[in-house]
């Protein structure tokens, strides 16, 4: 049997000193879930078929016209049994992934905290600030169904959800982000290095860095730069900092700073990056954050933002609608709303010169790809590591 498109087994994920311990059965559970995720990407192809062969003809017969908006289309699809089945299974899979990861990390919560504290003790590269609380858009929802989100500590020093996030990304993406789950950070740092070799950033900011998985590849490729990751989730920062220490990074700092009111001086960074962050913010905050980015960026500085593919005019109504599935059913609600904003206009409104705006496509750099991870997989809308990257030079 020719094995094709099988996800790598969980034991290929890279470990570090604060990575949660896994038992045989916990790894097996993740193997099952990674395979189930891959399988469901195939099942999702049936939605397009059902839409074309069943749902659309029925709608046209009833209304004498085609769909006019996403809501109409969604209402009609919601009645389709294949869509119902796929949706129910996908939601179920996400919940199972959270439960599997959280039972694994919370059972060793105390040990994780001890290991993290040991690595963080006495280090001035972790700067927490009691005055900074999570912004309302993070308190309103548990993004991607992780109960307690990035900020909740069930006891003093709890990092369980951060460890759960670290351990589980591999499962949700079926290993496509690489063994350090850092395919996004690797892609953007290599793009910058290859396309702008003259650009030598000395100070780099990664906003919404979480546990720093996409911050570290930047620090690695730009070893002479000081790289600062900011977030409001203390467990993420503590865990991320310990993770970076365990991996031997010396040019990174983790700080508890809110993106829409940053404590940094004007024009103090050469490069400000966000990776899969803006779609987890809010409709007003995204402007405040972009204005802060403009303020903190040095002249001739660069800002880049890795996000989900943009909804374009030539994208079908169906595709726009199916891409919204995760927004509502995997609890990332701003994802859908953010598509109403054009990134270029967002940046122009916040001070950037549209002449220096750019948009590129990017795909995760996957160091786990052994040739069996073929790209002929159906695109799993909202999961495939194929991104839109937009940004600008500040000129």
């Amino acid at each position: 049997m020719a094995a094709k498109n099988l996800p790598p087994t969980y034991d290929h994920i890279a470990k570090h000193e604060v990575f949660p311990e896994t038992t045989h059965d916990e790894r097996a559970r993740y193997n099952f879930l990674a395979n189930l995720n891959k399988h469901l990407a195939h099942v999702s192809q049936g939605n397009a078929v059902a839409f074309k062969n069943d749902v659309t003809p029925k709608f046209k017969e009833e209304h004498g016209r085609d769909f006019e908006n996403k809501e109409e289309l969604g209402d009609a699809m919601a009645k389709n049994l294949h869509y119902q089945t796929w949706s129910a299974l996908r939601r179920c899979t996400m919940e199972m992934r959270q439960q599997a990861g959280r039972s694994m990390t919370y059972r060793q919560a105390a040990e994780l905290t001890e290991r993290v504290n040991k690595l963080n003790e006495g280090k001035d590269s972790l700067i927490l600030n009691d005055e900074v609380s999570p912004p309302p858009y993070l308190l309103a929802v548990d993004n991607h169904l992780m109960p307690g989100s990035y900020h909740t500590e069930l006891f003093d020093g709890d990092v369980s959800n951060a460890a759960n996030y670290d351990g589980g990304l591999f499962v949700t993406t079926a290993g496509l982000l690489g063994k350090w789950s850092d395919g996004g950070g690797q892609a953007i740092s290599q793009w910058v290095k290859e396309n702008h070799p003259e650009f030598q950033p000395k100070r780099i900011l990664d906003i919404g860095c979480g546990m720093g998985h996409n911050t570290l590849p930047i620090a690695k490729l730009f070893p002479d730069a000081e790289v600062i990751g900011i977030d409001t989730g203390r467990p993420m920062l503590r865990y991320g900092h310990a993770r970076a220490m365990a991996l031997g990074y010396e040019n990174v700092k983790f700080m508890q700073v809110e993106a829409s009111k940053m404590s940094f001086e004007d024009e103090s960074f050469d490069w400000i990056q966000t990776t899969m962050f803006l779609h987890e913010t809010g409709g007003k905050s995204i402007y405040n954050i972009m204005r802060e980015i403009y303020r903190c960026l040095k002249p001739n500085g660069l800002t880049m933002h890795i996000e989900q593919p943009q909804y374009t005019d030539d994208m079908s109504l169906y595709e726009k609608w199916i891409r919204d599935w995760d927004a509502y059913n995997n609890s990332e609600p701003y994802w859908s709303k953010m598509h109403d904003i054009h990134p270029k206009e967002l940046m122009e409104d916040c001070g950037f010169n549209g002449e220096y705006y750019m948009q590129i496509g990017a795909q995760a750099i996957n160091d786990l790809d052994d040739g069996t991870q073929k790209a002929d997989e159906p695109e799993d809308h909202g999961r495939s590591p194929i991104w839109n990257v937009f940004g600008a030079w500040k000129k």
Binding site: N31, Y83, A88, C92, S103, D142, P147, L154, N329
Partner: protein, 120 residues
């Protein structure tokens, strides 16, 4: 340091926001969720058995060929194994057994029994 967390309860917590149900009858979806969890646990057990077989083979204790060709050596083993299947299936299909008993022997509701007992 003792684990301060009731990890089993915490692991299954609900995230914020009303849970979407996709099937017309949410009960169907609940059953699906339970079935998928069981499917996962079966896969986990299967992987564990595979691990055991490979370790035993590596240590020269048995070969997987032997497992493949295994048949019960006597009636006692056959009975034990068939008994296990029978009990396992009865456990899984308990709800059907009970509905059959109900059909054969229509019963009073507990409210009716409570009223009866009230008179006893």
């Amino acid at each position: 340091m003792d684990n301060p967390i009731d990890y089993i309860g915490i692991a299954g917590n609900k995230p914020k926001g009303k849970r979407p149900y996709f099937f017309d009858d949410p009960a169907v979806e609940r059953v699906l969720n339970i079935t998928m969890a069981i499917s996962m646990e079966l896969a986990v057990a299967r992987e564990r058995v595979d691990t055991l077989e490979r370790l035993l083979e590596d240590k020269g204790i048995l070969t997987r060929e032997e497992i493949k060709n295994y048949t019960p050596a006597n009636k006692e083993i056959e009975t034990e194994r068939q008994q296990w299947h029978s009990e396992y299936i009865s456990r899984i299909l308990r709800v059907i057994q009970q509905s059959m008993e109900e059909i054969a022997n229509p019963d009073k509701t507990l409210e009716e029994i409570a009223d009866d007992i009230d008179q006893m």
